[in-house]
């Protein structure tokens, strides 16, 4: 980029500006006000509203600042009589067909048209004829249209084409009949669609869920951080009298630019869902009753204490028995505290996670985990301190090639997908996928490999073999056996050469890889591919604070900051049968890879303490006490995003009912259990304590001492596979009612491709019997050719999934 500067004069001020920049960019930077509607710094220039007209000397007519490149010696007047006359005329013209219905318009008070009309319009219009009316379209549950108000700036159309990557909205007809339309009456389906609400300068596109809820000037604006994906988009949360009314993006060029996903925008609705837990409850004689906090906390603490003493007594007895027997054998002594476990949601704040592990470890148990949907832990000791993206989010748009494994990045991390999309647009980047099904992307994909989940590692091994061939390096011992004799195909070789030849390249493991039963194998192979092709190796972690959970020590084998010395170690949940369990923001029926097994384990525990924002049937069934917790908007806390960036935020409103911030609940529990070091007065103190331990951490995704891998051969003929649908990932999302009405919200069903269905003798919309081990369910069948042969696709985390077993286990599908 040439940084040749030119000097121009605007309103008598000399300004230096890069040659070729548009005048409006220069005036914006110099803080000189030029009115505009169609111009937006993140969109292409359309120059169709003409509101930005300014006088440029030597030009015969006023010129649009948004489409006029600056040139040396240009003299511009934004306030001269000629400029003003032009602006006035355009303003009057734009208002001709505008209904001027501000009192009943949701945009009133924050409307660009209102503001500009105040500054540049006349009080009276010369236009007295009838105005046009445009019928509104129903474009889905998130956006209300009021198209008579549209001023045809086409920002929404350009957003679809340039940012969202799907051309859904368009402008049809012309002249007075021109209107914004979808092709047929169709729902706008982009996962970023809500951004058009912010872009629309008038009240033509407004947020449906918060419609008519409040006026802009009645709301308070608070900075916050998105609580769902590993991006940590920056938000402004708007509240009215202490309630969250809506969420909008907070610009941060390094993270989310000017956008947020629909998930981050509309999930707040879950905060006020009907099943919000608003007071502490305990279960006595199978009856749930509301109690006050003191009683509930005492009940919870006593529960843990009694489990501990029972166990200790049992052990003393054991000891005396074994001594009296005097067998001379070493008795395998179990630590009584091993009977205590904690499962924590990776969407919890850093402070909550840190305190939960601190509490558990000070009680003597290391049985804490945030990896709820992971099932292969075999290489956990080789895992990095914190699995992270390996690079900055911003750098993703500079990529020349990327390989994503087990990732539907478009739906899971829309903001990351947007950066990748930019890489394809700007650098013609080759982005490839190896997935357990075909996903659609909104950018050109170099290779979109889809194989059944049981073949995923074998497929990746082919790419790894190609990578070693291309690099001519020796295959290290731990891979030798797995890679020998493999014959990579053209497609695999092409991927490797794209990664090898590109200047900026990356290999990323997505959340499906992380949940995969062969995760350790996938990880070793992915890392090898990255090293052999000089690519950055990274992870697209699952939740808002997965990275933070590793730092906070919410894993059984490592303490905070990945410490292993003097740290109480524990085992993974599947290997335990705990007597007391602490659940932090976890819903047993939806948040686990095998919800059924989880529910059974919980049913056997004598005490289950659930710190939860929501009351649910599954918790009533399994827990003994429910402590109402605050949601992300109601607590202070911090998240660490995938690039390792710590972001702290404040609570923006009081928690619903008697709910309390999770960190405070854990603090009090610590005190009630007589543990030292639970005297924090603010969440900042908790964070700083962890932060000081993390000071010397250098992020590095290199695997240490990777074990020898074995590619698993043929498993059962049909294996279950599934992902977590975009709007089901956590308790808040599952209750966000408007998101749940979109096309991306999913209900449970089983998907097979046509060949598999005919092999099994089942047909579209049949109700089929699905069996996993001892469990079974009747689900409806959808024929979907994006599912590979050998796979039965059933989404995780949706209602009904708890009836079945392991999300990646063997499965049978039969005709009823």
């Amino acid at each position: 980029m040439s940084e040749e500067l030119v000097t121009i004069t605007v309103d008598g001020r000399e300004i230096q500006a890069p040659k070729g920049a548009m005048l409006i960019e220069v005036t914006d930077k110099a803080n000189i006000k030029v009115p505009r509607f169609c111009y937006h710094q993140k969109l292409s220039v359309a120059a169709n509203c003409r509101m930005c007209l300014v006088e440029v000397e030597k030009a015969p007519k006023a010129l649009p600042a948004c489409a006029t490149p600056v040139m040396e010696g240009m003299v511009v007047h934004t306030q001269s009589a000629a400029a003003k006359a032009a602006q006035h005329s355009v303003m009057e013209f734009l208002l001709i067909n505008h209904p001027l219905d501000c009192p009943i318009c949701d945009q009133g008070g924050e409307c660009e048209l209102q503001d500009v009309a105040m500054g540049y319009g006349n009080d009276v219009s010369q236009y007295v004829e009838g105005k046009r009316v445009v019928l509104d379209k129903n474009i889905g549950p998130l956006i209300t249209t009021e198209l008579t108000r549209c001023i045809h700036c086409t920002r929404c159309v350009r957003f679809g084409e340039e940012i969202a990557g799907i051309r859904e909205l368009g402008m049809t007809s012309r002249g007075e009949n021109a209107r914004i339309a979808t092709c047929v009456e169709q729902t706008v389906a982009s996962e970023m669609s809500g951004n058009v609400i912010d872009l629309c300068p008038v009240g033509a596109l407004t947020a449906k869920p918060s419609r008519f809820a409040a006026r802009a000037w009645e709301m308070m604006q608070h900075a916050s951080v998105a609580p769902h994906d590993c991006v940590g988009s920056n938000l402004f949360v708007h509240t009215l009298r202490g309630e969250v009314i809506r969420v909008v993006p907070r610009d941060n060029e390094a993270i989310n630019e000017a956008w947020i996903s629909d998930r981050d925008r509309f999930s707040y609705e879950g905060i006020y869902s009907e099943d919000r837990l608003t007071s502490p409850m305990i279960k006595q004689k199978d009856e749930w009753k509301v109690v006050d906090w003191d009683e509930a906390l005492k009940f919870a603490a006593d529960g843990i204490k009694s489990v501990l003493t029972q166990l200790e007594q049992a052990e003393i007895q054991d000891d005396t028995q074994s001594e009296s027997e005097d067998s001379g054998e070493v008795v395998n002594k179990t630590n009584p505290a091993d009977k205590i476990a904690a499962l924590v949601s990776p969407n919890s704040t850093l402070e909550e996670l840190y305190l939960a592990q601190k509490l558990l470890r000070s009680l003597g148990s290391g049985n804490i985990d945030h990896r709820l949907r992971q099932s292969d832990f075999s290489d956990q000791d080789a895992a990095p301190t914190m699995p992270w993206l390996g690079q900055n989010i911003e750098d993703l748009e500079k990529l020349n090639a990327a390989l994503l494994i087990g990732s539907n990045v478009r739906k899971q991390q829309p903001i990351i997908a947007h950066r990748l999309r930019k890489a394809t647009l700007n650098n013609a980047a080759h982005i490839s996928f190896v997935n357990p099904r075909v996903y659609d992307f909104h950018f050109p994909v170099a290779s979109n490999i889809a194989v059944a989940q049981q073949q995923l590692s074998a497929e990746l091994a082919l790419i790894a073999a190609a990578a070693f061939k291309a690099s001519a390096n020796d295959v290290p011992d731990h891979l030798k056996k797995a890679l020998s004799g493999l014959k990579p195909k053209v497609e695999h070789k092409a991927m490797v050469s794209q990664l090898k030849e590109g200047e900026n390249t990356t290999v990323l493991l997505g959340d499906l890889a992380n949940m995969h039963p062969d995760f350790s194998v996938l990880r070793v192979l992915a890392e090898a591919i990255a090293t052999q092709t000089n690519s950055v190796f990274g992870y697209l972690t699952e939740a808002a604070n997965t990275a933070g959970a590793w730092l906070a020590g919410a894993v059984p084998h490592r303490g905070p900051a990945a410490a292993t010395e003097d740290v109480v170690q524990g085992s993974v949940f599947a290997e335990q049968n705990p007597d007391a369990v602490l659940l932090l923001n976890v819903e047993p029926d939806a948040d686990m890879v095998n919800s059924q097994a989880m529910i059974e384990t919980l049913q056997q525990a004598s005490r289950v303490i659930a710190i939860t924002a929501f009351d649910s049937a599954a918790l009533r069934d399994t827990a003994s006490v429910m402590l109402p917790a605050a949601t992300f908007a109601e607590t202070s806390g911090s998240y660490v995003n995938a690039e390792g960036f710590w972001q702290s935020f404040k609570g923006v409103c009081q928690p619903s009912g008697e709910a309390r911030p999770g960190w405070k609940i854990l603090r009090v529990l610590g005190n009630l259990l007589d543990q030292q070091g639970f005297d924090y007065v603010s969440s900042d103190e908790v964070r700083d304590e962890l932060r000081s331990q993390c000071e010397n951490i250098e992020l590095d995704n290199t695997l240490n001492n990777a074990a020898t891998i074995k590619i698993n051969g043929a498993a059962a003929e049909l294996m279950r596979c599934g992902d977590v649908p975009m709007y089901s990932g956590d308790a808040l999302l599952r209750r966000a009612s408007s998101l749940q009405q979109t096309q991306d919200a999913q209900v449970i069903c089983v998907r097979l491709n046509a060949a598999e269905a005919s092999r099994l003798g089942v047909a579209e919309s049949d109700s089929v019997l699905v069996k996993q081990g001892n469990s079974s369910a009747q689900l409806s069948l959808v024929i979907d050719d994006s599912i590979p042969t050998g796979s039965a696709w059933i989404p995780m985390a949706v209602k009904g999934n708890e009836l079945l077993g392991d999300a990646f286990g063997e499965i049978m599908v039969e005709k009823v």
Partner: protein, 164 residues
């Protein structure tokens, strides 16, 4: 692709591909106007949503892009119309030469208004938006692809009666 999607005829595809060959490979949208002409002509003078979708697929465009273009230009009919397209020019020159009386005459004769088709499916009276660039011969009208100039009511009768 859904098998129930409307397909373009072989003939149309060939004609559209010939158009495409005239533009650079990345400029497939450039062939859109021509493609719509071809398809409309084959479909007896009007486009349907299914046909526009088929054009979108053939040219690799979003459906809405095709719809935008088809609704912008008045030469495309988006509703079923009768088989003969009769367009009386009402732009300035023709208006000065008395096009209004020609329009009135045609409307009375056919018993329909501008923008309507006769019940027997014979004649569609199009609302012409543009000057048809035959100002010297105004008032004029276009019948299907043929221009008729210096119109008088008698001449109009003769032309219209001659349409099957």
């Amino acid at each position: 692709m859904n098998t129930t999607d409307t397909q373009l005829s072989k003939q149309s595809c060939a004609e559209i591909d010939a158009l495409l060959a005239k533009f650079p490979a990345e400029g497939r949208k450039s062939a859109l106007l021509g493609a719509l002409n071809v398809v409309q002509h084959e479909n007896k003078g009007f486009l349907t949503e299914d046909l526009m979708d088929a054009v979108a697929r053939h040219l690799d465009l979003a459906k809405i892009e095709v719809y935008e273009v088809a609704s912008f230009y008045s030469m495309y009919e988006l509703k079923p119309v009768a088989r003969h397209n009769v367009a009386v020019c009402t732009n300035i020159s023709c208006m000065l030469m008395g096009s209004q009386s020609i329009v009135n005459h045609v409307e009375n004769k056919l018993g329909i208004k501008l923008g309507e088709s006769t019940a027997d499916g014979r004649i569609y009276l199009k609302i012409e938006e543009e000057c048809l660039a035959a100002c010297a011969g105004g008032p004029m009208m276009q019948v299907d692809h043929v221009y008729h100039e210096n119109l008088t009511p008698e001449k109009v009768d003769e032309i219209l009666d001659g349409l099957e």
